[in-house]
Amino acid sequence: MNLEEAEIRMASHKAQDQGEQILSNDAYIQYAAMIKNAAKHWRRTFCEAGSIWQPVVFLTPATLVLFVFAYWPLLQDVWLSFHLWNMISPAMKFVGLQNYFQLVTSAEFIKIITNTVLYIVVLLLVNFLLPYLLSFMMAHLLKRFSFFYRSALFAPSTVSLAVASILFLWIFNPLAGPLSILLSAVGLESPRWFKEPVLVVIVIGLIIGWKVFGYNLILLLSAMVDVPKELIEAARIENASDWQLFRYIIVPMTSSTALYVFVITIVFGLQYVLVPVNMLTQGGPDQGSTNLVYIVYQYGFVFFQTGKAAAFAILSMVIYALFLMLKTKVLDKKVHYEN
């Protein structure tokens, strides 16, 4: 009789004494051994390294969270986009693809897409191209004060977009703002920045740029200073101009970080638009400053046309997905990864 068995026997005797015995002694021992085996089997299947169930065990919590908070809402959204519902009425009316048809054929659709593209252009200029060139200058051409520039340019990133919006509302005030005072000093009349189509997109793009610029700059700067000094010196010895240095050495060597910044500039940038647009223009004038992200919010939580909001959300998701596919299939191939 080994030790385990003795333990089990003792436990069963104890149970017997307390008058709780349901099974006969031998049956009890068999039953306990069965449970023990099952536990061992369970442990071997789920807990030991190399078992096929182990990854499942580890991944389940994350998968559950993702499913509950991302994929399930997404499916709900698809379902919602086939209905008319104002968030209050108990009945949802199924309308099939009507929401999509209405949205594609509406007059504002072209405007929304054009605005979105315009936002992308402005954001890429302010938050990608400009910090790319500036980080190159700061890393490789600037001889001193680099710390000052770095801090000064990064500081706005710490301010919230809502605060930035209010700040710029005042700066761009066409009657009393500092910009209008400057303009009138040189005899120009300040345009109504937030009331003119196109102009409003550029101004909001600049507000987002002011905030995000510094962060992207630091990202790109880290890639720039990662380029070994000898490579730059070798190119200098070959009489490469600053531009050739940038084009043939810096751009390929920093391309992986640059691609990342390029993607987040577009993907995050369009979402940043929500805050200033909601605070300053509510999509106006005449949907002149709305974009694919803000329109979803507006249809859902201002107009209470949840079906249309859902349809817009699906549409923007498809567009994002196409963009990321293009990134993987085309852009990634042109990028130099270190390893």
Partner: protein
């Protein structure tokens, strides 16, 4: 006309002195080695020639023109970096032709030069490889090829072989000399390896703490080191430096009185204390000895054996190469011939000279 001349060149990084009052001239087509321990200013000197470091004071002339303020790209130099500095995103071919295409050399010419360089360096067939697909030796040859195609009159190398293993280094050393012989650019070569310096260099400039110690052919540097630093830096094991005191025409080293030959008497007369330098290979174990000491241990160096001897009443350790004897123990006598002796002033460390050289 492609010599390099330093006239009292200094380089300071704030408070730190990297190179101090360097005056040096490199002849056209010569292989000059800058040799010294790390931090001696040899790489800084090379980088000043390349234009990668600004000169604090003094004049640098290349081909007779003052080059202090000339941009690196306008100096017409080719440089090999210690870690090769190959462009990792370019193929071997692109790496080699990059400089030429920047300089707008005609395409046919680029092709011809690059193919020739690849052939010389045994790299044919590797044109489309990226640097990370090459071995250390191949990378080093690509770096060499990149400088070769330029056909620049100045060829600067910053420890080009230090990342190679011992065997490859040996091979690359001879290849390097062969390549130099091909079109004879003015070559400046930085190394901390004295064997490399001796075998590659036609002249060696030895530096220490930013100051040029001696500039001469490897032979003379080895036989007549200018001061105690050069004496102990060159040669492995280094030259024995023994403290000597002169009294009544006799040289007292480690408790032994030695009578210098007549021609040395005048030379040594003005120095009461001095360092006597004798190379280990010039010391012999013999009964008819000048010095006596106790054997500490014996070291096998392959072709030779090195015996460490502690001299009487002195902490100095002497090193000699015995002829064929195997076990050497106990007290031994050491002799040397005066023709191989160098003597250094005990205060300045400078070589006093030799009777027949002076």
């Amino acid at each position: 006309m492609s010599g390099i001349v330093f006239e009292d060149v200094s380089k300071y990084y704030g408070e730190i002195t990297a190179v101090k009052g360097l005056s040096l001239s490199v002849q056209e087509g010569e292989r000059l080695i800058l040799l010294g321990p790390s931090g001696c200013g040899k790489t800084t000197t090379l980088r000043m020639v390349a234009g990668l470091e600004k000169i604090t004071s003094g004049i640098l002339k290349m081909g007779g023109h003052v080059m202090n303020m000339v941009e690196p790209g306008a100096r017409n130099i080719a440089m090999v970096f210690q870690n090769y500095a190959l462009y990792p995103h370019m193929t071997v071919w692109e790496n080699i032709t990059f400089g030429l295409s920047i300089r707008k050399v005609p395409n046919g010419e680029i092709k011809a030069r690059a193919e020739k360089a690849l052939e010389i360096l045994n790299l044919s067939g590797y044109e489309q490889r990226k640097p990370h697909e090459l071995s250390g030796g191949q990378k080093q040859r690509v770096a060499l090829g990149r400088s070769l195609v330029k056909q620049a009159p100045y060829f600067l190398l910053d420890e080009p072989l230090s990342n190679l293993d011992a065997q490859l280094r040996l091979q690359a050393r001879t290849e390097l000399v062969k390549i130099h012989e091909l079109y004879r650019p003015t070559l400046m070569y930085v190394t901390h390896d004295q064997i490399e310096a001796m075998s590659v260099g036609q002249r060696i400039a030895i530096m220490n703490q930013g100051v040029l110690q001696q500039l001469d052919t490897p032979d003379i540097i080895y036989q007549y080191p200018a001061n105690t630093f050069v004496a102990s830096f060159i040669g492995a094991p280094p030259m024995n430096l023994l403290q000597g005191r002169l009294c009544d025409g006799k040289l007292r080293i480690a408790g032994c009185d030695i009578k210098p030959p007549a021609e040395w008497q005048n030379l040594l007369a003005s120095h009461s204390e001095l360092w006597v330098g004798i190379r280990p290979e010039h010391c012999r174990l013999s009964d008819n000895s000048l010095l006596r000491g106790r054997v500490e241990f014996t070291e096998l160096l392959g072709s030779q054996r090195c015996v460490h001897v502690r001299l009487q009443g002195d902490e100095l350790v002497l090193c000699v190469f015995p002829a064929e004897q195997s076990a050497i123990e106990g007290t031994v006598g050491i002799s040397f011939s005066w023709e191989h002796v160098n003597s250094f002033d005990s205060h300045t460390g400078c070589n006093i000279g030799r009777p027949h050289v002076r």
